[in-house]
Symmetry: C2
Subunit: 218 residues, 2 copies
Amino acid sequence: MKWSRHEHGPHGGHGRAGYHHGNLREALIEAALSLIAANGSTGFTFAEAARQAGVSPAAPYRHFRDRDALMADVAQLGFDKFEAELARGWNQGVPDALTALNNIGKAYLAFARSQPGYYGAMFEAGIPLNATPALRDASDRAFAILRGAAEQIIAKLPDGTRPPALMVALHFWSLSHGIASLFVGRNAAQRTLPMPPEDLLEAGVLVYLQGLGLSKPG
Amino acid sequence: MKWSRHEHGPHGGHGRAGYHHGNLREALIEAALSLIAANGSTGFTFAEAARQAGVSPAAPYRHFRDRDALMADVAQLGFDKFEAELARGWNQGVPDALTALNNIGKAYLAFARSQPGYYGAMFEAGIPLNATPALRDASDRAFAILRGAAEQIIAKLPDGTRPPALMVALHFWSLSHGIASLFVGRNAAQRTLPMPPEDLLEAGVLVYLQGLGLSKPG
DNA sequence: GAATGATGTAAGACCTGCTCACATGAGCAG
DNA sequence: CTGCTCATGTGAGCAGGTCTTACATCATTC
Protein backbone atom coordinates (compact mmCIF):
# COMPACT_ATOMS: atom_id res chain seq x y z
CA MET A 1 0.00 0.00 0.00
CA LYS A 2 1.07 3.56 -0.65
CA TRP A 3 0.86 6.45 1.78
CA SER A 4 0.27 9.64 -0.11
CA ARG A 5 3.49 11.53 -0.41
CA HIS A 6 3.15 15.25 -0.78
CA GLU A 7 5.88 17.45 -2.16
CA HIS A 8 8.19 15.24 -4.09
CA GLY A 9 10.55 18.13 -4.66
CA PRO A 10 13.74 18.14 -2.61
CA HIS A 11 12.70 19.25 0.88
CA GLY A 12 10.22 21.90 -0.05
CA GLY A 13 8.91 24.00 2.84
CA HIS A 14 7.22 22.19 5.71
CA GLY A 15 5.73 18.83 4.78
CA ARG A 16 7.59 15.64 3.99
CA ALA A 17 9.78 15.46 0.91
CA GLY A 18 10.40 11.79 0.32
CA TYR A 19 10.79 8.63 2.29
CA HIS A 20 11.49 10.53 5.47
CA HIS A 21 8.93 12.94 6.76
CA GLY A 22 11.41 15.21 8.44
CA ASN A 23 9.01 16.60 11.00
CA LEU A 24 6.79 13.71 11.95
CA ARG A 25 6.85 14.19 15.69
CA GLU A 26 5.49 17.71 15.48
CA ALA A 27 3.07 16.76 12.73
CA LEU A 28 1.63 14.01 14.93
CA ILE A 29 1.17 16.41 17.82
CA GLU A 30 -0.58 18.87 15.52
CA ALA A 31 -2.83 16.09 14.29
CA ALA A 32 -3.59 15.03 17.86
CA LEU A 33 -4.57 18.57 18.80
CA SER A 34 -6.97 18.95 15.92
CA LEU A 35 -8.44 15.50 16.39
CA ILE A 36 -9.02 15.98 20.12
CA ALA A 37 -10.49 19.40 19.47
CA ALA A 38 -12.82 17.96 16.87
CA ASN A 39 -13.81 14.64 18.40
CA GLY A 40 -12.84 14.69 22.06
CA SER A 41 -9.93 12.95 23.71
CA THR A 42 -11.29 9.51 22.87
CA GLY A 43 -11.74 10.52 19.25
CA PHE A 44 -8.04 10.77 18.67
CA THR A 45 -6.45 7.68 17.16
CA PHE A 46 -2.85 6.94 16.36
CA ALA A 47 -3.85 5.60 12.96
CA GLU A 48 -5.75 8.73 11.98
CA ALA A 49 -2.91 10.96 13.11
CA ALA A 50 -0.54 8.94 10.93
CA ARG A 51 -2.96 9.31 8.03
CA GLN A 52 -3.08 13.08 8.45
CA ALA A 53 0.69 13.20 8.48
CA GLY A 54 0.84 11.07 5.35
CA VAL A 55 2.80 8.18 6.83
CA SER A 56 2.09 4.52 7.48
CA PRO A 57 0.22 3.46 10.63
CA ALA A 58 3.42 2.08 12.15
CA ALA A 59 5.50 5.22 11.73
CA PRO A 60 4.29 7.02 14.88
CA TYR A 61 5.81 4.25 17.00
CA ARG A 62 9.26 5.54 16.03
CA HIS A 63 8.49 8.72 17.96
CA PHE A 64 6.14 7.67 20.76
CA ARG A 65 6.08 4.44 22.72
CA ASP A 66 2.33 4.22 22.34
CA ARG A 67 -0.80 6.29 22.01
CA ASP A 68 -0.78 7.32 25.66
CA ALA A 69 2.79 8.55 25.39
CA LEU A 70 1.77 10.96 22.65
CA MET A 71 -1.20 12.04 24.74
CA ALA A 72 1.05 12.64 27.73
CA ASP A 73 3.36 14.72 25.56
CA VAL A 74 0.46 16.84 24.36
CA ALA A 75 -0.69 17.24 27.96
CA GLN A 76 2.76 18.40 29.00
CA LEU A 77 2.93 20.96 26.22
CA GLY A 78 -0.55 22.01 27.26
CA PHE A 79 0.52 22.61 30.84
CA ASP A 80 3.41 24.72 29.58
CA LYS A 81 1.04 26.85 27.54
CA PHE A 82 -1.40 26.89 30.43
CA GLU A 83 1.24 28.14 32.84
CA ALA A 84 2.14 30.93 30.42
CA GLU A 85 -1.49 32.00 30.07
CA LEU A 86 -2.10 32.00 33.81
CA ALA A 87 1.11 33.98 34.37
CA ARG A 88 0.01 36.46 31.73
CA GLY A 89 -3.33 36.84 33.47
CA TRP A 90 -1.73 37.33 36.86
CA ASN A 91 0.79 39.79 35.42
CA GLN A 92 2.65 39.94 38.72
CA GLY A 93 -0.39 41.27 40.53
CA VAL A 94 -0.78 44.38 38.38
CA PRO A 95 -2.79 46.56 38.64
CA ASP A 96 -3.98 45.08 41.94
CA ALA A 97 -4.16 41.60 43.40
CA LEU A 98 -7.92 41.22 43.12
CA THR A 99 -8.07 42.29 39.48
CA ALA A 100 -5.08 40.13 38.66
CA LEU A 101 -6.63 37.13 40.39
CA ASN A 102 -9.78 37.54 38.36
CA ASN A 103 -7.64 37.72 35.26
CA ILE A 104 -6.16 34.34 36.16
CA GLY A 105 -9.67 32.99 36.40
CA LYS A 106 -10.55 34.42 33.00
CA ALA A 107 -7.36 32.93 31.58
CA TYR A 108 -8.29 29.54 33.04
CA LEU A 109 -11.70 29.52 31.39
CA ALA A 110 -10.38 31.03 28.17
CA PHE A 111 -7.83 28.24 27.94
CA ALA A 112 -10.47 25.58 28.40
CA ARG A 113 -12.56 27.22 25.70
CA SER A 114 -9.94 28.10 23.11
CA GLN A 115 -7.56 25.18 23.50
CA PRO A 116 -9.82 22.13 23.57
CA GLY A 117 -7.02 19.98 22.21
CA TYR A 118 -4.62 20.73 25.01
CA TYR A 119 -7.35 20.88 27.64
CA GLY A 120 -8.67 17.49 26.61
CA ALA A 121 -5.26 15.88 26.83
CA MET A 122 -4.59 17.52 30.19
CA PHE A 123 -7.83 16.84 32.01
CA GLU A 124 -10.10 14.53 30.06
CA ALA A 125 -7.87 11.86 28.58
CA GLY A 126 -7.23 9.93 31.77
CA ILE A 127 -3.48 10.38 31.56
CA PRO A 128 -2.05 10.05 35.06
CA LEU A 129 0.14 12.97 36.10
CA ASN A 130 2.78 10.48 37.13
CA ALA A 131 3.02 9.25 33.57
CA THR A 132 6.17 11.30 33.26
CA PRO A 133 8.23 13.42 35.64
CA ALA A 134 8.18 16.17 33.01
CA LEU A 135 4.39 16.08 32.95
CA ARG A 136 4.13 16.40 36.69
CA ASP A 137 6.67 19.21 36.70
CA ALA A 138 4.77 21.11 34.05
CA SER A 139 1.57 20.69 36.03
CA ASP A 140 3.30 21.84 39.22
CA ARG A 141 4.66 24.93 37.50
CA ALA A 142 1.16 25.87 36.36
CA PHE A 143 -0.21 25.46 39.86
CA ALA A 144 2.68 27.50 41.23
CA ILE A 145 1.20 30.54 39.50
CA LEU A 146 -1.99 30.13 41.52
CA ARG A 147 -0.02 29.53 44.67
CA GLY A 148 2.01 32.71 44.17
CA ALA A 149 -1.14 34.69 43.55
CA ALA A 150 -2.71 33.31 46.72
CA GLU A 151 0.31 34.42 48.71
CA GLN A 152 0.01 37.97 47.45
CA ILE A 153 -3.70 37.96 48.16
CA ILE A 154 -3.43 36.87 51.77
CA ALA A 155 -0.52 39.22 52.35
CA LYS A 156 -3.09 41.99 52.46
CA LEU A 157 -4.74 40.42 55.48
CA PRO A 158 -3.70 41.46 58.99
CA ASP A 159 -1.42 39.13 60.93
CA GLY A 160 -3.14 36.29 62.68
CA THR A 161 -6.04 36.11 60.25
CA ARG A 162 -4.11 34.67 57.35
CA PRO A 163 -5.20 31.28 56.09
CA PRO A 164 -2.58 29.02 54.52
CA ALA A 165 -1.75 30.24 51.03
CA LEU A 166 -1.78 26.67 49.74
CA MET A 167 -5.35 26.19 50.88
CA VAL A 168 -6.49 29.42 49.26
CA ALA A 169 -4.76 28.43 46.05
CA LEU A 170 -6.45 25.04 46.11
CA HIS A 171 -9.85 26.61 46.65
CA PHE A 172 -9.34 28.93 43.74
CA TRP A 173 -8.08 26.14 41.54
CA SER A 174 -10.95 23.83 42.44
CA LEU A 175 -13.59 26.46 41.82
CA SER A 176 -12.08 27.43 38.49
CA HIS A 177 -11.66 23.84 37.46
CA GLY A 178 -15.16 22.89 38.52
CA ILE A 179 -16.68 25.70 36.49
CA ALA A 180 -14.50 24.88 33.51
CA SER A 181 -15.33 21.18 33.66
CA LEU A 182 -19.04 21.62 34.13
CA PHE A 183 -19.78 24.61 31.93
CA VAL A 184 -16.97 25.27 29.46
CA GLY A 185 -15.50 21.99 28.22
CA ARG A 186 -16.74 19.78 25.42
CA ASN A 187 -19.22 18.24 27.83
CA ALA A 188 -20.56 21.67 28.66
CA ALA A 189 -23.02 23.93 26.86
CA GLN A 190 -25.37 21.27 28.05
CA ARG A 191 -26.44 23.06 31.17
CA THR A 192 -27.83 26.52 30.70
CA LEU A 193 -26.29 29.05 32.99
CA PRO A 194 -28.00 32.26 34.10
CA MET A 195 -24.70 34.07 33.45
CA PRO A 196 -21.43 33.54 31.57
CA PRO A 197 -19.04 31.15 33.31
CA GLU A 198 -16.58 34.02 33.68
CA ASP A 199 -19.10 36.01 35.71
CA LEU A 200 -19.96 32.98 37.80
CA LEU A 201 -16.31 32.51 38.66
CA GLU A 202 -15.68 36.16 39.36
CA ALA A 203 -18.68 36.35 41.68
CA GLY A 204 -17.56 33.23 43.52
CA VAL A 205 -14.06 34.58 44.00
CA LEU A 206 -15.43 37.87 45.25
CA VAL A 207 -17.61 36.20 47.87
CA TYR A 208 -14.75 33.93 48.90
CA LEU A 209 -12.32 36.81 49.34
CA GLN A 210 -14.87 38.72 51.37
CA GLY A 211 -15.12 35.64 53.53
CA LEU A 212 -11.39 35.85 54.08
CA GLY A 213 -11.82 39.42 55.26
CA LEU A 214 -10.96 41.27 52.07
CA SER A 215 -13.35 43.90 50.86
CA LYS A 216 -13.15 45.06 47.32
CA PRO A 217 -11.24 48.28 46.77
CA GLY A 218 -13.46 51.23 46.04
CA MET B 1 -17.15 -20.95 19.32
CA LYS B 2 -18.79 -21.62 22.65
CA TRP B 3 -19.61 -19.05 25.30
CA SER B 4 -19.20 -20.61 28.72
CA ARG B 5 -22.58 -21.51 30.08
CA HIS B 6 -22.79 -21.66 33.83
CA GLU B 7 -25.51 -23.47 35.69
CA HIS B 8 -27.04 -25.90 33.26
CA GLY B 9 -29.68 -26.80 35.79
CA PRO B 10 -33.16 -25.44 35.14
CA HIS B 11 -33.00 -21.78 36.08
CA GLY B 12 -30.85 -22.08 39.15
CA GLY B 13 -30.40 -18.91 41.18
CA HIS B 14 -29.03 -15.84 39.44
CA GLY B 15 -26.81 -16.65 36.46
CA ARG B 16 -27.97 -17.89 33.09
CA ALA B 17 -29.45 -21.32 32.75
CA GLY B 18 -29.36 -22.13 29.10
CA TYR B 19 -29.59 -20.45 25.78
CA HIS B 20 -31.24 -17.42 27.29
CA HIS B 21 -29.46 -15.48 29.97
CA GLY B 22 -32.56 -14.23 31.69
CA ASN B 23 -30.95 -11.18 33.24
CA LEU B 24 -28.54 -9.93 30.65
CA ARG B 25 -29.37 -6.25 30.82
CA GLU B 26 -28.60 -6.02 34.52
CA ALA B 27 -25.58 -8.28 34.18
CA LEU B 28 -24.14 -5.97 31.52
CA ILE B 29 -24.64 -2.92 33.72
CA GLU B 30 -22.93 -4.72 36.59
CA ALA B 31 -20.04 -5.61 34.31
CA ALA B 32 -19.80 -2.02 33.11
CA LEU B 33 -19.63 -0.74 36.68
CA SER B 34 -16.83 -3.08 37.66
CA LEU B 35 -14.90 -2.49 34.43
CA ILE B 36 -15.12 1.30 34.71
CA ALA B 37 -14.15 1.10 38.35
CA ALA B 38 -11.15 -1.05 37.52
CA ASN B 39 -9.94 0.49 34.27
CA GLY B 40 -11.56 3.87 33.89
CA SER B 41 -14.39 4.83 31.61
CA THR B 42 -12.34 4.12 28.48
CA GLY B 43 -11.40 0.69 29.84
CA PHE B 44 -14.93 -0.59 29.53
CA THR B 45 -15.66 -2.50 26.36
CA PHE B 46 -18.86 -4.03 25.14
CA ALA B 47 -17.05 -7.21 24.24
CA GLU B 48 -15.56 -7.66 27.70
CA ALA B 49 -18.88 -6.99 29.36
CA ALA B 50 -20.44 -9.69 27.18
CA ARG B 51 -17.61 -12.04 28.14
CA GLN B 52 -18.21 -11.41 31.85
CA ALA B 53 -21.88 -12.13 31.38
CA GLY B 54 -21.08 -15.33 29.51
CA VAL B 55 -22.78 -14.41 26.24
CA SER B 56 -21.59 -13.82 22.71
CA PRO B 57 -20.20 -10.41 21.69
CA ALA B 58 -23.33 -9.62 19.73
CA ALA B 59 -25.81 -10.30 22.51
CA PRO B 60 -25.54 -6.89 24.22
CA TYR B 61 -26.95 -5.24 21.11
CA ARG B 62 -30.29 -6.81 21.91
CA HIS B 63 -30.47 -4.62 25.02
CA PHE B 64 -28.54 -1.45 24.13
CA ARG B 65 -28.33 0.34 20.80
CA ASP B 66 -24.57 0.72 21.20
CA ARG B 67 -21.81 1.12 23.74
CA ASP B 68 -22.70 4.74 24.48
CA ALA B 69 -26.31 3.82 25.14
CA LEU B 70 -25.22 1.45 27.89
CA MET B 71 -22.89 4.13 29.27
CA ALA B 72 -25.73 6.64 29.27
CA ASP B 73 -27.91 4.16 31.12
CA VAL B 74 -25.24 3.65 33.76
CA ALA B 75 -24.84 7.42 34.05
CA GLN B 76 -28.55 7.85 34.56
CA LEU B 77 -28.68 5.21 37.28
CA GLY B 78 -25.66 6.95 38.78
CA PHE B 79 -27.45 10.30 38.92
CA ASP B 80 -30.38 8.62 40.62
CA LYS B 81 -28.09 7.16 43.27
CA PHE B 82 -26.22 10.46 43.47
CA GLU B 83 -29.43 12.39 44.08
CA ALA B 84 -30.36 9.99 46.86
CA GLU B 85 -26.97 10.37 48.53
CA LEU B 86 -27.03 14.16 48.33
CA ALA B 87 -30.57 14.21 49.72
CA ARG B 88 -29.49 11.94 52.55
CA GLY B 89 -26.62 14.30 53.31
CA TRP B 90 -28.85 17.34 53.27
CA ASN B 91 -31.50 15.60 55.39
CA GLN B 92 -33.87 18.52 54.97
CA GLY B 93 -31.45 20.89 56.63
CA VAL B 94 -31.27 19.01 59.92
CA PRO B 95 -29.75 19.73 62.39
CA ASP B 96 -28.90 23.10 60.88
CA ALA B 97 -28.35 24.41 57.36
CA LEU B 98 -24.59 24.80 57.64
CA THR B 99 -24.02 21.30 58.99
CA ALA B 100 -26.39 19.85 56.45
CA LEU B 101 -24.67 21.68 53.60
CA ASN B 102 -21.34 20.28 54.68
CA ASN B 103 -22.91 16.85 54.76
CA ILE B 104 -23.92 17.31 51.13
CA GLY B 105 -20.30 18.11 50.36
CA LYS B 106 -19.14 15.00 52.17
CA ALA B 107 -21.71 12.95 50.29
CA TYR B 108 -20.47 14.38 46.98
CA LEU B 109 -16.88 13.40 47.67
CA ALA B 110 -17.87 10.07 49.18
CA PHE B 111 -19.81 9.25 46.03
CA ALA B 112 -16.86 10.05 43.81
CA ARG B 113 -14.67 7.85 45.99
CA SER B 114 -16.90 4.87 46.61
CA GLN B 115 -18.76 4.71 43.30
CA PRO B 116 -16.05 5.07 40.68
CA GLY B 117 -18.13 3.12 38.19
CA TYR B 118 -21.09 5.44 38.33
CA TYR B 119 -18.94 8.53 38.72
CA GLY B 120 -16.89 7.64 35.66
CA ALA B 121 -19.97 7.12 33.53
CA MET B 122 -21.51 10.37 34.78
CA PHE B 123 -18.57 12.73 34.49
CA GLU B 124 -15.64 11.14 32.71
CA ALA B 125 -17.09 9.15 29.85
CA GLY B 126 -17.93 12.05 27.59
CA ILE B 127 -21.62 11.17 27.45
CA PRO B 128 -23.56 14.32 26.62
CA LEU B 129 -26.35 15.07 29.07
CA ASN B 130 -28.67 15.48 26.13
CA ALA B 131 -28.08 11.87 25.14
CA THR B 132 -31.43 11.08 26.69
CA PRO B 133 -34.20 13.12 28.29
CA ALA B 134 -34.14 10.70 31.20
CA LEU B 135 -30.44 11.34 31.71
CA ARG B 136 -30.89 15.08 31.78
CA ASP B 137 -33.83 14.75 34.14
CA ALA B 138 -31.85 12.58 36.52
CA SER B 139 -29.02 15.10 36.46
CA ASP B 140 -31.43 17.97 37.05
CA ARG B 141 -32.98 16.21 40.01
CA ALA B 142 -29.57 15.76 41.58
CA PHE B 143 -28.76 19.43 41.12
CA ALA B 144 -32.14 20.37 42.54
CA ILE B 145 -30.96 19.08 45.92
CA LEU B 146 -28.13 21.61 45.87
CA ARG B 147 -30.46 24.32 44.70
CA GLY B 148 -32.88 23.63 47.53
CA ALA B 149 -30.09 23.68 50.05
CA ALA B 150 -28.86 27.01 48.70
CA GLU B 151 -32.32 28.47 49.14
CA GLN B 152 -32.43 27.47 52.78
CA ILE B 153 -28.95 28.84 53.32
CA ILE B 154 -29.63 32.27 51.91
CA ALA B 155 -32.95 32.44 53.70
CA LYS B 156 -30.96 33.15 56.84
CA LEU B 157 -29.59 36.33 55.32
CA PRO B 158 -31.35 39.68 55.89
CA ASP B 159 -33.47 41.04 53.07
CA GLY B 160 -31.59 42.93 50.41
CA THR B 161 -28.36 41.05 50.93
CA ARG B 162 -29.51 37.79 49.42
CA PRO B 163 -27.65 36.58 46.37
CA PRO B 164 -29.53 34.44 43.84
CA ALA B 165 -29.98 30.92 45.18
CA LEU B 166 -29.10 29.49 41.78
CA MET B 167 -25.74 31.23 41.82
CA VAL B 168 -24.94 30.00 45.31
CA ALA B 169 -25.89 26.47 44.30
CA LEU B 170 -23.67 26.68 41.23
CA HIS B 171 -20.74 27.89 43.30
CA PHE B 172 -21.16 25.05 45.74
CA TRP B 173 -21.52 22.54 42.96
CA SER B 174 -18.49 23.82 41.08
CA LEU B 175 -16.28 23.83 44.16
CA SER B 176 -17.35 20.32 45.12
CA HIS B 177 -16.95 19.05 41.60
CA GLY B 178 -13.58 20.68 41.17
CA ILE B 179 -12.25 19.10 44.34
CA ALA B 180 -13.72 15.74 43.41
CA SER B 181 -12.27 15.85 39.90
CA LEU B 182 -8.83 17.00 40.92
CA PHE B 183 -8.29 15.13 44.15
CA VAL B 184 -10.70 12.24 44.52
CA GLY B 185 -11.35 10.60 41.15
CA ARG B 186 -9.30 7.99 39.36
CA ASN B 187 -7.00 10.71 38.11
CA ALA B 188 -6.48 11.91 41.65
CA ALA B 189 -4.26 10.67 44.44
CA GLN B 190 -1.69 12.08 42.15
CA ARG B 191 -1.47 15.45 43.81
CA THR B 192 -0.60 15.41 47.46
CA LEU B 193 -2.93 17.53 49.53
CA PRO B 194 -2.04 19.08 52.90
CA MET B 195 -5.46 17.93 54.16
CA PRO B 196 -8.21 15.47 53.23
CA PRO B 197 -10.41 16.65 50.34
CA GLU B 198 -13.35 16.71 52.73
CA ASP B 199 -11.60 19.25 54.96
CA LEU B 200 -10.58 21.32 51.96
CA LEU B 201 -14.18 21.49 50.80
CA GLU B 202 -15.56 22.24 54.23
CA ALA B 203 -13.06 25.06 54.74
CA GLY B 204 -13.91 26.51 51.33
CA VAL B 205 -17.62 26.43 52.04
CA LEU B 206 -17.08 28.07 55.41
CA VAL B 207 -15.11 30.95 53.91
CA TYR B 208 -17.67 31.34 51.14
CA LEU B 209 -20.59 31.49 53.53
CA GLN B 210 -18.80 34.03 55.67
CA GLY B 211 -18.37 36.04 52.50
CA LEU B 212 -22.13 35.93 52.06
CA GLY B 213 -22.54 37.34 55.54
CA LEU B 214 -23.16 34.16 57.48
CA SER B 215 -21.09 33.52 60.55
CA LYS B 216 -20.92 30.05 61.94
CA PRO B 217 -23.23 29.36 64.85
CA GLY B 218 -21.39 29.15 68.16
C1' DG C 1 32.05 5.86 -1.14
C1' DA C 2 30.67 2.26 2.09
C1' DA C 3 28.95 1.44 7.05
C1' DT C 4 25.59 2.72 10.37
C1' DG C 5 21.66 4.28 12.82
C1' DA C 6 17.37 6.74 12.52
C1' DT C 7 13.15 6.72 10.27
C1' DG C 8 9.47 4.75 7.54
C1' DT C 9 6.99 0.49 5.34
C1' DA C 10 4.63 -4.08 4.89
C1' DA C 11 2.44 -7.49 6.89
C1' DG C 12 0.03 -9.44 10.34
C1' DA C 13 -1.73 -10.89 15.21
C1' DC C 14 -5.20 -9.53 18.02
C1' DC C 15 -8.68 -6.47 19.73
C1' DT C 16 -13.17 -3.70 19.47
C1' DG C 17 -17.73 -1.96 17.61
C1' DC C 18 -21.30 -3.22 14.99
C1' DT C 19 -24.41 -5.82 11.44
C1' DC C 20 -27.02 -9.52 9.51
C1' DA C 21 -28.73 -14.05 8.71
C1' DC C 22 -29.92 -17.73 11.48
C1' DA C 23 -30.86 -20.66 15.87
C1' DT C 24 -33.24 -21.28 20.15
C1' DG C 25 -36.75 -21.56 23.28
C1' DA C 26 -40.44 -19.08 26.29
C1' DG C 27 -45.07 -17.76 26.11
C1' DC C 28 -49.37 -18.06 24.21
C1' DA C 29 -53.55 -19.71 21.32
C1' DG C 30 -56.06 -23.36 20.37
C1' DC D 1 -50.23 -31.19 24.23
C1' DT D 2 -49.23 -28.84 19.62
C1' DG D 3 -47.64 -25.43 16.97
C1' DC D 4 -46.84 -20.24 16.13
C1' DT D 5 -44.49 -16.18 17.12
C1' DC D 6 -41.25 -13.16 18.86
C1' DA D 7 -37.70 -11.82 22.03
C1' DT D 8 -33.18 -13.18 22.82
C1' DG D 9 -28.75 -15.20 21.74
C1' DT D 10 -25.23 -17.16 18.16
C1' DG D 11 -21.92 -17.28 14.13
C1' DA D 12 -19.72 -15.20 10.86
C1' DG D 13 -17.71 -11.30 9.18
C1' DC D 14 -16.42 -6.31 7.94
C1' DA D 15 -14.16 -2.08 9.16
C1' DG D 16 -10.91 -0.15 11.72
C1' DG D 17 -7.86 0.36 15.92
C1' DT D 18 -3.22 -0.87 18.69
C1' DC D 19 1.04 -2.66 18.47
C1' DT D 20 5.04 -5.90 16.93
C1' DT D 21 8.47 -7.73 13.80
C1' DA D 22 11.15 -8.02 9.74
C1' DC D 23 12.63 -5.30 6.15
C1' DA D 24 13.53 -0.89 3.18
C1' DT D 25 15.45 3.63 2.67
C1' DC D 26 18.20 7.47 3.43
C1' DA D 27 21.13 11.11 6.09
C1' DT D 28 25.15 11.09 8.38
C1' DT D 29 29.68 10.07 9.18
C1' DC D 30 34.18 8.05 8.85
